[in-house]
């Protein structure tokens, strides 16, 4: 029942920044915006620190970051729709730094249903247990497992034809 004290806060950020960033980045595909979302999620937790217990902190900050990322993505999509923007459908990293994830992978991840994507990214990029993912997403552990398996299968399915074609070209 320990509260997250102020002295530990920066240290918590240091520990959680990378997994949080990686999860959010797969939502927004923009390095600076992803870091901004991570910071915003942390700041919200910081401002609500009197109400957050250490036990629930990780789930809280991940849930906040995921919701912020999903909102931003939705807004961007809406804006693109309203402004009749001719930008490509898939978001791209335009931060000026190298786009380290190939568009093919971006597309494959983006095409996953949100509920599957959340579970998959939390398991694979944040290294969370099923129990931790369940706390973030609000579903049962068994559901987390089945969603992760389903997401992996879909991802494999979407990435495979390219690999098969590449292999065919090599031979």
């Amino acid at each position: 029942m320990t509260r997250v004290d102020e002295a530990s806060w920066v240290e918590l950020y240091r520990v959680l920044e990378k997994p949080l960033y990686n999860v959010v980045y797969r939502w927004l595909w923009d390095r600076m915006e992803s870091q901004d979302v991570v910071q915003e999620a942390f700041l919200r937790c910081w401002r609500a620190r009197d109400r957050i217990r250490a036990e629930g902190f990780k789930a809280f900050v991940f849930r906040t970051a995921l919701n912020l990322a999903a909102n931003r993505r939705r807004r961007k999509k809406l804006w693109r729709l309203v402004s009749f923007d001719s930008l490509p459908e898939e978001p791209q990293d335009v931060s000026g730094t190298s786009s380290v994830v190939s568009p093919r992978i971006q597309r494959a991840i983006d095409e996953l249903p949100d509920r599957l994507k959340r579970v998959l990214l939390l398991c694979e990029l944040a290294g969370m247990s099923y129990g931790e993912v369940a706390a973030v997403t609000g579903v049962k552990e068994g559901t987390v497992g089945s969603r992760r398996n389903r997401a992996l299968a879909l991802l494999r399915e979407r990435l495979q034809p390219q690999e098969v074609m590449a292999d065919a070209e090599r031979s």
Binding site: V10, Y13, L43, W46, R47, S95, V100, I105
Partner: protein, 116 residues
């Protein structure tokens, strides 16, 4: 799978300076934007409530309601046994006011006017 650059789950490094940035943002006073937003929402809610009340009020105190109020006052006078209070008579013909003259009446409850 995580060290493969073509892996969907390759762990990327966040842009540098995040720790310093969060430290300074935490040290900064909380922006009033949130509180202003709450205040703004409150004002907006009050405005909507006011508009709704105005609509309801206008519906209840429209011309009909005004007539009802007059009728009610006469009715009150009648119930209390008081005589009706005389009111100045105005007569119009084709939108123009016309002069009138009160003529004597044998019945105090009846007033007779002549249009001039």
């Amino acid at each position: 799978m995580q060290n493969d650059p073509e892996s969907p789950f390759e762990l990327l490094d966040p842009p540098p300076g995040g720790v310093e940035r969060i430290r300074s943002r935490m040290a900064a006073p909380e922006p009033v934007r949130g509180r202003l937003a709450v205040a703004g929402a409150g004002v907006a809610a009050l405005a909507v409530l006011g508009a709704l009340l105005a609509v309801v009020f206008n519906q209840r105190v429209g011309p009909d309601a005004g007539d009802n109020a007059i009728v009610a006052s006469h009715e009150l006078d009648r119930l209390l046994g008081r005589g009706a209070q005389p009111v100045p008579l105005t007569v119009e013909r084709d939108g123009q006011p016309v002069q009138t003259e009160e003529l004597p009446s044998a019945d105090p409850r009846v007033r007779i006017y002549q249009v001039l």
